[in-house]
C-alpha cells in the first residue's frame, strides 16, 4: 500500500503524502491512514474502530510524538538481525544438522529460488500494465457480457507461460486497471494450468496417454471458468482488499517509467514475503507428510482423489513439475493423479499465502476452499470424460 500513495504522488505532485502535513491537508492524511487500516483487515469496514488504528483523533498526536521520541526504525532492527545472524552463523548451521531439518532447509531455499524469477516476471508485467495499459484499452479486449468475458479471459491465460507466482501480481493489476473481477480471477486460475509449457510437460510425463493432456486442459479451464462465473454471480467486491482497486495514474512520458518502477518494486516486496511464507510451509509439509500416505490408496478411488487433492494443496509443487511427480506415483489410477494436476496450479499453500497477501485475507479464505472443491469436481468430471472412465 506504500506504492499507492507514491504512485499518485508521482503522477500528481501537488497531492500531499508527508506525515507532517499541517491542518489544511490533515484530512487527506488521516483519510489515507484509515483507508490503510481498513485494507489491512478487509473483513472490517473502514469505519470500524480498531484499537491501534490511526483514527482521525489520534493520528496527529502520534505523528508528532514519533518525531520527538527516538524510535527504533526497521532499518536498525534489520541491521541488528543481520549482525546477530553473522555472529551466530556457526550455531545456526549446526542447528541444521538433523537430517529432517536439513532436508526442509534445502527444499525451502529450492522453492524460493525456483519461484522468485517467476514472481519477478509477474511484477514486471504488473508494472508495465499499471504504467502503459489504460483501463479503456483493457476493456476493449474482452466482451462486455461477464458470461462471455470469463471464458475469454480464461483462455487468455494460455499466453502467460509461467508458474502460479507470476499470475498473482498480474491478476491483481488487471483488477486495479478496471478489468471485471470475475474475468481477472478466471485468468489467475487458468494461466498457470493451461499454458503450453505445462501441457507439453504433461504430455512428456504421460506418454501414450494423450487423454491426460486433454483432461488436464479441460479440467483446469473449467475450474477457472466456473470460479469466474461463481464470482460474477455471488462474489462481493468488498471481499477483495480495497487497495487492489486503487488505480495507478501513469501521467505521461517519463512519469510512466517511475510508475512502472514503483509498482514493480512495491508488488515484489508485498508478494515476496508471502511467497517465502508459502515456501516455508511447503518445505515443512514436504518432510512432514509421510510417503506412506500414497501407498495403500491403490484400491480406493474416492479416497485417492481426496488424498491426492490434499497432497496437491500441501506440497505446492510448481505446475511445470507436478506432472512428473504424478507420473511417478504408478500405483495409483490415473483419475486421482489427474485431480492432483488440476488442483495443484489452482490452489495450494504457496498460492494461498500469495493471494491473502495480495487480495486480502478476507478474499483468500473464501476463494481458496471454493476453488479446491470446484477443481476436484472439474478434475474428476474431465477425467471421467477424457480418460473414458475411472482408470
Amino acid at each position: 500500500m506504500t506504492a499507492v500513495a507514491s504512485t499518485t504522488g508521482t503522477a500528481d505532485n501537488t497531492s500531499p503524502d508527508s506525515p507532517t502535513v499541517a491542518d489544511p491537508v490533515a484530512g487527506t492524511t488521516t483519510n489515507l491512514a484509515t483507508d490503510n487500516s481498513a485494507t489491512d483487515n478487509s473483513a472490517t469496514g473502514p469505519n470500524s474502530a480498531q484499537p491501534n488504528s490511526a483514527s482521525p483523533n489520534n493520528a496527529q498526536p502520534s505523528a508528532t510524538e514519533r518525531s520527538r521520541q527516538p524510535r527504533l526504525t526497521s532499518l536498525q532492527v534489520f541491521s541488528a538481525v543481520l549482525i546477530a545472524a553473522l555472529l551466530f552463523q556457526r550455531p545456526l548451521a549446526q542447528a541444521l544438522d538433523g537430517s529432517t531439518v536439513r532436508i526442509a532447509a534445502t527444499v525451502f531455499v529450492a522453492v524460493c529460488v525456483q519461484a522468485l524469477p517467476f514472481l519477478v516476471i509477474g511484477v514486471v508485467l504488473s508494472g508495465l500494465i499499471a504504467a502503459f495499459v489504460s483501463p479503456a484499452a483493457l476493456g476493449r479486449l474482452l466482451p462486455r457480457r461477464p458470461a462471455l468475458a470469463v471464458p475469454v479471459a480464461g483462455l487468455a491465460g494460455a499466453v502467460l507461460p509461467g508458474c502460479e507466482c507470476a499470475s498473482v501480481p498480474v491478476a491483481r493489476r488487471l483488477i486495479g486497471q478496471g478489468l471485471p473481477d470475475s474475468a481477472a480471477l478466471a485468468f489467475l486460475l487458468a494461466a498457470p494450468a493451461i499454458n503450453p509449457v505445462v501441457l507439453v510437460a504433461t504430455a512428456v510425463a504421460f506418454p501414450g496417454e494423450p487423454g491426460m493432456v486433454v483432461a488436464r486442459f479441460t479440467g483446469s479451464l473449467a475450474t477457472a471458468v466456473v470460479m469466474g462465473w461463481l464470482w460474477a454471480r455471488f462474489g462481493r467486491p468488498e471481499w477483495i482488499a480495497e487497495r487492489v482497486r486503487r488505480r495507478a495514474h501513469p501521467g505521461s512520458g517519463g512519469a510512466r517509467w517511475w510508475v512502472f518502477l514503483e509498482t514493480a518494486r512495491h508488488d515484489l516486496v508485498a508478494a515476496g514475503g508471502f511467497l517465502v511464507l508459502g515456501g516455508l510451509t511447503s518445505a515443512v509439509l514436504n518432510v512432514a507428510v509421510p510417503a506412506s500416505w500414497v501407498e495403500g490408496l491403490a484400491g480406493h478411488l474416492v479416497l485417492g482423489i481426496v488424498v491426492m487433492a490434499l497432497l496437491a494443496v500441501l506440497l505446492a509443487l510448481c505446475s511445470e513439475a507436478d506432472a512428473f511427480v504424478a507420473a511417478s506415483l504408478g500405483s495409483l489410477p490415473l483419475l486421482p493423479r489427474l485431480v492432483f494436476l488440476v488442483v495443484g496450479p489452482a490452489v495450494d499453500v504457496k498460492l494461498f499465502a500469495l493471494q491473502s497477501g495480495t487480495f486480502g485475507r478476507g478474499f483468500a479464505v473464501r476463494f481458496a476452499p471454493t476453488t479446491l472443491v470446484v477443481a476436484m469436481v472439474c478434475g474428476t468430471v474431465a477425467g471421467l470424460l477424457a480418460l473414458g472412465g475411472a482408470r
Binding site: L32, N52, V81, L86, A105, V107, A110, A270, A321
Partner: protein, 242 residues
Amino acid sequence: MRRDTQNVLLVLLGGALIKISATELYLRYVKPANKWYLLSAGVVILALAAISLLRDAWLSRGGRPAPGHHGHDHEPHSPWLLLLPVLAIFLVAPPALGADSVQRAAAGNSVTAAAGPSSGEFAPLPAGAAPELRLSDFVARAVWDRAGSLAGRDVTLTGFVVHRGGSAELARLVITCCAADARPMVVRLTGFTDAPDLPSGSWLRLRARLLPGSATVADGYTPSVQVLDAEPIPEPVEAYEY
C-alpha cells in the same frame, strides 16, 4: 517495514540470487536451465532497489518527501520474511538433497513409462567397454527395454550409497524443476564386499553389470547389479539427474 529497509533487503535478495547463479551453488536447488532466469531475476531485483534508493536520496536532498512516507502505523510486516532466504543462502547454503531423502522415500523405484520410449525400444548402448549411463537411464532400460540392451554389458554408474533394509543401494535423485520435486532412482548392489564400510551418502563411480531377472514388480522395479569395480569420488557439482 520502512521503505529504505525494504530497498536494502531487496539489494541483499538480488545479490543472493546473483551469488548462487554465478557460482555452482544454484545446482543444489534447481536444474541447470534455471541459471539465466536466476541471474536475470537477481539483476532486476537489484536494479529496482538501487534505482529506488538513489531516487529517494535525491528527492530527500531536494527537501521533498520520499514517496511512500505518509506516516501511518500500518507498514506491512510480511517483507521481513524475505530475510529468511537471504540468510539461508548467505550463511548456511543448505546442501543438495541426498541419502536422507532416499531413505525417507518409499522403497523401490517409482518408474513410469515416461522414463523410456513408449514403444519399449531403446537406442543401442554407446560403444566401449563400460559406457557411462545415467542412473535413471539404467533403471529405465532395466525395466522397459524389450531388446535387452543391458544384457551381458558392463556399464559405468555414478551415485551415492544408501543402506536400507539390510542391503546397499546406489542412488541418485532426479529433479524436474527444483529440489522440492526430487524423486529417487536406486539400484541394488551385490557382490560388493566394501559396502558395509561405506557410510550412507558416500559417492561412488562403479563398473557394474545388470543381474538378469531383476527390476520386476516383485522387487519394486529395483535392478540388482553385480559390482565389478568401485571408486570413491567426491560429490559431483551436478548432484541431481534431470
